[in-house]
Symmetry: C2
């Protein structure tokens, strides 16, 4: 008799795992049942802001594989609009509710893949029955916002609460659709994913686009009129608006797992080992936005909800479920984003992270250009490096620049991944031609500056 894998959550991590398991084990060997609460499987949540802005025409573009594809081509029993409500580890069963037609099913499993993703952080004041308030996490969320933007009376003003990646991207999308947009951020700056000096460059670019930025401002409530949101209430008074988007981040969707007895780590994410097994529970796997992982530089557990990790972790879990061997050995916090024409990349630790992790370090900021200065289209590009002292080991890097800047963070990410020192890095053989960099690549210029900074500290 075939063994049975049940997958909870049919997005990046869950479907990567299921696909890899199927690749190694045929339908006679492994039955695969997927429960997905929403309408979609395997889509690009990161693309939602570009659908809102109109840059991407429809949600179809964001769907990588539809449920029907998984059913037909991968022989999986994919049940959308089914929410798993309980996991019984003893009897090795899950209970799932059919959200559209009612009723419950119980299904047994041999292996269980928990990939329930993340849920938006939603403070008490955000609970409202008013129309016009949106999270921005699922394709269904995006769909709801799209509809609202063309509902009479058509919204003209928007408030985005939270200045992380999603908040910033949605603010830009709404400005591109012609709304008047205010971004409210409780901290001193939006885009705190990079250090303050770099974040200020991003804030400047956003203001240049016409986005109003209100920082250091706490939201305390929402006002409504005729069932529609009408204002965001803050410590400094109400901000009138026709639509509110919440971009306050997400937390692991692990409550069901916790209730079933899966171990939860300090970040709120499920604990897993390098093969994505839940420790102490044979046959139970977890991956994606619901788990915590190791930061390879701070050596501390972190929760980094990104599609790229979810896919890798799901793949690793699926290879292992399929009988192979694969490991996921942590992250270094690499991320890139585009804000207007400004590009922002980061990897490793920010200054505050390095301090929190107990590192002594120097940091340097180097100004350069994306191409040889004389080559048409050369744009300013700022590279920041953070290096441990006295060892010189790279701890973190950030890039802010215009076109052709952000993806260069990968060069630094690979250097960081391999534990290179900034002195090592000055020797790196990077590609040079006038359309791509000055003869001293911006990465090399920054590394040289860091070497000098380390020497200067030593001389003191």
């Amino acid at each position: 008799m075939a063994q049975r894998l049940i997958v909870i959550g049919g997005d990046a991590a869950g479907m990567s795992a299921a696909s890899q398991a199927r690749r190694r084990r045929g339908r006679d060997d492994l039955e695969i049942v997927v429960f997905e609460r929403g309408h979609f499987t395997s889509y690009s949540a990161c693309g939602i802001p570009y659908w809102i802005s109109g840059l991407v025409p429809g949600p179809e573009q964001l769907i990588i594989r539809a449920p029907e594809t998984f059913r037909k081509d991968f022989a999986m029993d994919v049940r959308i609009r089914h929410e798993v409500t309980a996991i019984d580890l003893e009897r090795r069963e899950v209970v799932a509710r059919d959200l559209d037609h009612g009723g419950e099913v119980r299904e047994r499993f041999d292996d269980l893949m928990y990939a329930a993703g993340a849920v938006p952080v939603k403070p008490p004041w955000a609970s409202t029955d008013a129309d016009g308030v949106f999270g921005m996490q699922t394709l269904d969320d995006g769909s709801a916002l799209r509809d609202w933007l063309v509902t009479e009376p058509v919204p003209r003003r928007a408030v985005v609460i939270g200045g992380g990646y999603i908040g910033v991207e949605i603010a830009e999308a709404l400005i591109e659709r012609g709304l008047s947009v205010t971004l409210v951020e409780q901290a001193d700056q939006p885009m705190s994913t990079v250090d303050g000096d770099m974040a200020e460059l991003v804030a400047d670019a956003m203001r240049g686009l016409g986005i109003k930025i209100r920082t250091g401002l706490r939201v305390t409530g929402l006002e409504q009129r005729d069932g529609r949101v009408s204002a965001v209430v803050t410590a400094e008074g109400p901000i009138p608006t026709d639509v509110v988007v919440l971009g306050l981040g997400v937390r692991p969707n692990a409550s069901l797992a916790e209730a079933a007895g899966l171990p939860i780590g300090p970040t709120g994410g499920i604990r897993v080992d390098r093969r994505m097994r839940v420790p102490g529970l044979p046959g139970i796997w977890a991956a994606g936005d619901c788990v915590e992982t190791l930061h390879r530089v701070s050596l501390m557990p972190v929760h980094v909800p990104l599609g790229t990790h979810a896919n890798k972790q799901g793949r690793v879990a699926g290879i292992n479920i399929g009988g192979g061997y694969a490991t996921f050995t942590g992250v270094i916090g690499t991320a890139v984003t585009k804000v207007c024409d400004l590009e922002v990349g980061r990897t490793g630790l920010r200054e505050r992270d390095a301090t929190a992790a107990g590192f002594d370090f120097v940091s340097v900021v180097a100004e350069s250009t994306t191409r040889a200065g004389y080559y048409p289209g050369a744009r300013a590009m700022t590279v920041k490096l953070i290096a441990e002292r006295p060892s010189g080991r790279l701890l973190g890097a950030q890039i802010v620049g215009w076109s052709e800047a952000a993806k260069r963070i990968d060069t630094l990410a690979v250097a960081l991944w391999n534990g290179m020192t900034v002195d090592d890095m000055t020797a790196l053989d990077l590609g040079y031609a006038p359309p791509y960099s000055p003869v001293w690549d911006p990465v090399l210029i920054a590394a040289r500056k860091a070497v000098d900074a380390l020497a200067a500290v030593d001389d003191r």
Copy 2:
């Protein structure tokens, strides 16, 4: 009394060395005399094709620092149009000829920095007194070609001989200026700096631009009429033309060094140690296009004449001359170029290099896109990886793609530099956002494919 450093060659390597030495040793401690045969110091030879095409308006843009700047700001005795004709290691003197005013000077040195660069490869048939035949190595070469292109009767047809970086870039520059251009290459393909399958993509792009490509064709002579070049004679008959550009590569300009007794390696370049000292000759240094260096993957000496290496090597030599400690530990053959809108990057070994170096290997080619497939402006991008078997160590990588592709070679270059295996690489934490890559970065897709290829070979 101050010691004296004499620098032979006032371009990238020589002036980097001189600047670094000056930074550490003041004028009372170290006198610096630079002899430069040409009119210029410290310019970007790599920018010459863009000046020819008109993309860069004038040669001034290509000059990084003029002789006057070095004299004034760096207290150096810079003598342009002075050719060193002899080195006397015994008496520690050089003899230099004033090319404009005649006469010779003898100057003593304590340290000698040999940075005479490279000279174009020029077969016997290329020696001609006809006008309209150009090398393309110095700013003076570029200047001569620029003048010729506006000399009546204005040239309409051009033949570029040699399909390396310079040949390809000049062919494009001339097509952009409206000439009818034929590229003649003795090998099967132009752009043999990448493997044949990748080079074919480049050849297609060049043909798309209207460049006629004649491969497998040997040039045997040049014809002239009224003192002007009129045809390139080949094994398949003459190709009529009004201008000929030679792009047959360069060799180390080491004859003077060899005559003086400096050791020459198998590539024809001067041998140096990791501090850029000439072995066995205290106080004698060499750097730049005239030296050979270690290829960190093949572990064989190579001659890679590139400004980026010349600058790094010069810097290392200058730090050491200045009393500091720095090393240059070899290259991995990273290079990028732009051919029309096509971008080409490479690092490490090509298949033929890997075979020559005795490696067993697999190679894979992965097709992907520069951005998420649904994001506007996503373009095709091809990544080729060569990995040692059975170890899986990355030996080489090549990228051909449209915008935003080539510089990604740096990610692979840093992985290669650190000796990563393709299996290690599948775990790399690279930046992901829809404007920059699919959720599986092209580099990761290629690494996964290489892992599969290694497993498939093992299964055989």
